[in-house]
């Protein structure tokens, strides 16, 4: 009983703190520049890259695309982020690149503080051509700290039927404030 009372009294003060922080940020920087994303140069050949799809205030939505990978059984990749600056704002949503029913393909997602992981595999152990560009996943991030901050794509694995690995290049990028950063 005393615990509930305690929380009720704490709630307004947390809101107050956040409001004060936002006010502080605005007053400190004057006119706020919009958050944006500087994508790394896209490599050629079998590749996977991050694409900035949308921004709402401090929330940025990203897409992960692949191209020229050829026929694959499945894939796996990680997006690493600085959890002191950005936080995952919801579920990572794998796209149904290998098939839409759970009989056709299974998709894995995992969101740790600094590591978003996505994977997919065809249930029938056959292959789907990812010549693309093909959307593999979507995920939102909230920017909670000072940018620029990098988003790195790591451990990109594509495997053919039977399990052989496909050597792939990957491009991440950097979240910035648009209009010239110092």
């Amino acid at each position: 009983m005393s615990q509930r009372r305690y929380e009720r009294t704490r709630l307004p003060s947390r809101v107050t703190v956040i409001v004060l922080l936002v006010l502080g940020a605005v007053s400190g920087c004057g006119e706020q520049k919009a958050l944006s994303f500087n994508a790394d140069a896209q490599p050629s050949g079998p590749r996977l890259w991050l694409q900035h799809a949308d921004t709402h205030d401090t929330r940025l939505t990203f897409e992960v695309w692949a191209a020229e990978v050829g026929a694959v059984l499945g894939y796996s990749f990680h997006v690493r982020l600085d959890d002191g600056v950005v936080t995952a704002a919801g579920e990572v949503t794998p796209a149904a690149a290998l098939g839409s029913s759970s009989e056709a393909a299974l998709y894995l997602q995992s969101a740790r503080a600094d590591d978003l992981a996505v994977g997919g595999v065809r249930r029938d152990l056959g292959e789907t051509a990812l010549d693309g560009p093909v959307l593999l996943a979507t995920f939102p991030l909230d920017v909670t700290g000072e940018v620029p901050t990098p988003l790195r794509v790591e451990r990109v694995v594509f495997r053919r039927a039977g399990g052989a690995f496909v050597a792939t290049s990957a491009a991440g990028g950097t979240i910035v404030r648009k209009g010239g950063e110092s």
Binding site: Q109, S110, A111, G119, R123, L125, V157, F165, V166, A167
Partner: protein
Amino acid sequence: MKYTFCRALAITAIVSFPGWATAQVDDFIEQHVWIDLAATPMQIEIELTLDLGETASAIHLATLALPLASVDVDGTPVGWSDSFSDPGYITDIALPSQLPAGTQTKVHMVARGELDCASLFYPGYQWCVHDSHQTILPMTSAGEAWYLSSVFAFDQFVGSLTVVAPASQDVVSVQGTEEERSDNGDGTATWVFSFDYPTDGVGLYAGDMEAVTSETGFPVTGYVPSAHVTKMEHAVAIAAEVLDYYNELYTPMPADHAYLVTTPNSLPFGGMGLLGTIFLNEYVFWDEYAYIVEQGVAHEFGHTWWGHMSSGNHPFFTEAFAEYSAWRAMGHLYDDAMRTSGSRMNAVWYMYRRTGNADVAVLDPKVFNSPAYGFVIYHKGSTVLRTFEEAAGEAPFTAALRALVQSGPGHTDIDKFVSEIAASSGYDASADVEQWLLQPGFPHLEVRPAVATSATETTLALFALTDDPFAFNLPVRLTFADGTTRNESLTVGEDGSGHVVWGLEGYPVLVEFDPRWTMVREITPGADRADVSFDGVVDGVDLIEVALRQGSFLPDERRVDGGYDPLYDLNGDGAVDGDDLNLVLAAAASH
């Protein structure tokens, strides 16, 4: 039905006799057999020269499949009687007088009458076949013997076999020398086989089944009922390649033609390997047993080297070595993955399918009476040989095996095995013999990975722990995202623990332990059960790894490769399926 592949099931009969442990066995020197298959009734005449093992007034020989008509010892007619201790199996032959140990004695016997093929040891089965179309006499078995072999030990002899058969029948027997056939002009032909290479494994086929001969590779002829000619063609082609491989690998066998004889389903064994000749039960050619043909052919012909050209005082030296050789040959014919599948199948059958979970050391004298006998001798034993190969190195281990073959039949034992390995590789296998062959069980290993990354380097740390008393080097294969690999090893010491840290150029997305199944072992990820890739995180690689094993299962039948690896059976229900995939998804999402 017994789905056994063996050199001779008589071996299991041998050890059940009380005389096994105590008697000084007689030493067979030379044996000549004359058998008239065309005569009615059939007649077998045997002349055996042996050295007495102990001072005796009687000798104990395997009971024949047809009644004795007369016996003489060194020219003196003697009497005989059914053994008191092993009636039906052993016949006691009276000596004319008590003779001292070491006396060389010649026993001559004539047996005549109806051939009684009903198996004493396997009630309901036949040990031989004799009708107007064919006669099949496998390696002799006490109670249904047609030549004499020691019932107390492996004991080779030289000699000859003369067969009179209907002229229309082909006759196949023993190894070695050219058979000599002469037409008798009365509808019969006489075949003479002489064998200078010492053996105790003689088989005989005389019949009119279809003959199929290999087109390339080592000359092999298979005899088969017409319904199974196509499958025999395949079996013969495989045998031709396997025999070329064994000849090259070990030492050429003393025969320039090999034979494969189909036996009726009424016989109790799946296969029997003699020197250069094998018997395969016809069920092997039924569609539902298609998986047995190649491994069965490779195993049985393996007995030419393991059980005949060489042999020891224990079935480990025949069955485990033949089974080891079979999968090495299969790997040669196909690829390394094929070899690995056989090794895994054997390890899994031993680890998870033992009758009543019974277990016993491979070389424990009690193995003969254990329900774990087949699991331990064939399946664990062959995998342990793979373990020795890994420790010694493939080429030095092969050299040691070749030395065993070249030492000839009857000379192999565990000390010789260890000393040949030491001579060829410098590796002292004593401790491994102790833990893998002289104690039961296998290691259950838990491995915890930890990956740390910095701007300049990635490190992988592995912590391994087992409660079982085994120390070993575990091969480790690291695979990076681009598919490149790096081979390492992890040492688990006497205290049951192992710890390594490797600095790497990249993140190891897949860490595999003993990927070629070189030992009987169970390996489980210690931190998160779903992290089957042992890289410290459950991700898409784990999903793919489990998916690749979908449909694999723990088989109910021996020699069925269910593709099963317990690592991927997350819920431990004996099948890798959608439930296991869902466990990977759930483990990933829970972070």
